[in-house]
């Protein structure tokens, strides 16, 4: 991004923020529950067998570099991995506390939040929440500040630390450019042999998730992770154990991350527009007499200095 463009966007953004601030409260109190036709994926860990085919499919679809070990190598499960510049999705293995339950595999990738914290934190607007539900990312305008990596409650965005000259943020984009845009499921869903991943409209797969739990309560832990967490996510998870045991943060709450800063940010335009005028006025009022007094002092000093 050129410096001039960046300044233009800043100016435009500042103007919008000021306008927003003026009609502030209405904007601040609404909540966004996702686009009506937004798509989503239901991850059912009770079906996953840990074959890592989704990782291979993602690697190919997104033209990622060669992995360190083959995608059929299960030794990677010995340690818990996270997503990074070379892998937009990873499968991890978790051993449940209950001894009668076998290992559980969980695929993780960007959850495509309804109100993404990465998008909120990005000051160059590199992120977009599309009407299909994907949170996409434009590397051309990213300045590499990595605010999104700090903001993401799921620690999903990775960063190409290996690139010295053009480092960018890397994350799952729901195969938006190549598939979702054309109404097709992402590559990981297509390849999954067990259909552990179910693709559909978010509102439909949410119903499916609750229906599976209702029909076979012995098979599931009664919680759909992502239904409400941080305002809801496009990717949902159901499992036979507490999400806590699957390395999922259960302390996030149901408020979108933006709610933590919305009130504060609403006051910024006010501070920027009203405060300078207000305090200049106060300053002028407060120093009017003082100026006079100062003159007098200076004058007397000069007089004192004369003899």
């Amino acid at each position: 991004m050129k410096r001039r463009d960046f300044l233009k966007v800043c100016l435009a953004g500042g103007a919008t923020a000021t306008m927003g601030g003026l009609c502030g409260k209405a904007w601040g109190s609404t909540s966004f529950e996702g686009y009506p036709d937004g798509m989503g994926v239901l991850v059912d860990t009770t079906r996953c067998i840990g074959c890592r085919s989704c990782e291979a499919a993602c690697n190919k679809e997104q033209k990622m570099p060669e992995p360190e070990v083959p995608f059929d190598d299960t030794s990677v499960f010995d340690e818990t991995r996270r997503t990074d510049e070379k892998a937009l999705t990873v499968v991890n293995r978790y051993i449940p506390k209950e001894s009668d339950k076998g290992p559980v595999y969980r695929k993780q990738q960007c959850n495509h939040c309804n109100e993404p914290a990465c998008l909120t934190s990005c000051f160059v607007n590199a992120y977009t929440k599309t009407k299909e539900g994907a949170v996409t990312y434009n590397p051309k305008i990213c300045v590499g500040c990595r605010n999104c990596m700090i903001a993401c409650p799921f620690n999903m965005p990775g960063y190409s630390y290996s690139s010295a000259f053009n480092p960018v943020v890397k994350k799952c984009i729901f195969c938006y450019d190549t598939r979702l845009k054309f109404g097709r499921p992402p590559a990981c869903v297509d390849i999954c042999p067990q259909e552990a991943l179910t693709f559909g409209h978010r509102k439909d797969i949410l119903k499916l998730a609750h229906e599976r739990i209702r029909e076979t309560p012995d098979r599931y832990y009664d919680h759909v992770y992502g239904e409400n967490e941080v305002g809801g996510t496009s990717w949902l998870y159901i499992s036979n154990i507490n999400p806590d045991q699957l390395g999922m943060d259960t302390t996030l709450g149901n408020e979108p991350i933006i709610s933590n800063v919305k009130d504060f940010l609403g006051t910024v335009p006010m501070v920027l527009t009203i405060w300078p005028a207000l305090f200049t006025g106060i300053h002028l009022l407060a120093t009017r007499n003082k100026d006079h007094h100062d003159d007098h002092t200076n004058h007397s000093e000069q007089e004192d200095g004369k003899p």
Partner: protein, 174 residues
Amino acid sequence: MFAQRLQFAGMFVALLLAMIPGSAQALSVPDTFPLNPKGTLYESFQFNHAKHIKLTRECSGCHHHTTGTLVEDPNCIRCHRNSSENKVVQCRGCHHEDPFSAATLREKNSNRNAYHQDKPGLKGAMHRNCIGCHTKVSRGPIGCNDCHKRKKAGDEFYYSGNFTPRGKPDKGEH
């Protein structure tokens, strides 16, 4: 001339087959038939149907309520106690080959009263049926290559076999 006769004979046989009721056709199923015929990453392979009939005895174990013995699942019995046998008892008779395409999702949406909204696709149904049962009875293949051998394109896809990444340090050295 001969080819024309053969064509007529073929049509006649097809007509005869169409007249036989569904149950009789199910009985005439071959002992083995190919699965994964269109596989790009894995080879097609012969499924031994006769062997599975001997081992399980209950058709409903795999075919639900569509053929042979009566359905046993108490949840299915509620509706399918007296269901007649289906004309098509192959998996793909009900399970979509492309379960998440826009057309399939549209079709699902247009028929919201249908009970089986959560019907798995063909690939999911077969893998879960096979692996699920083999795991339950601790018998039969479970690994990917145990049923279908991976093709060269599959090796390339998984970076395995001849396509294993080189020049990386072994795990043991760390």
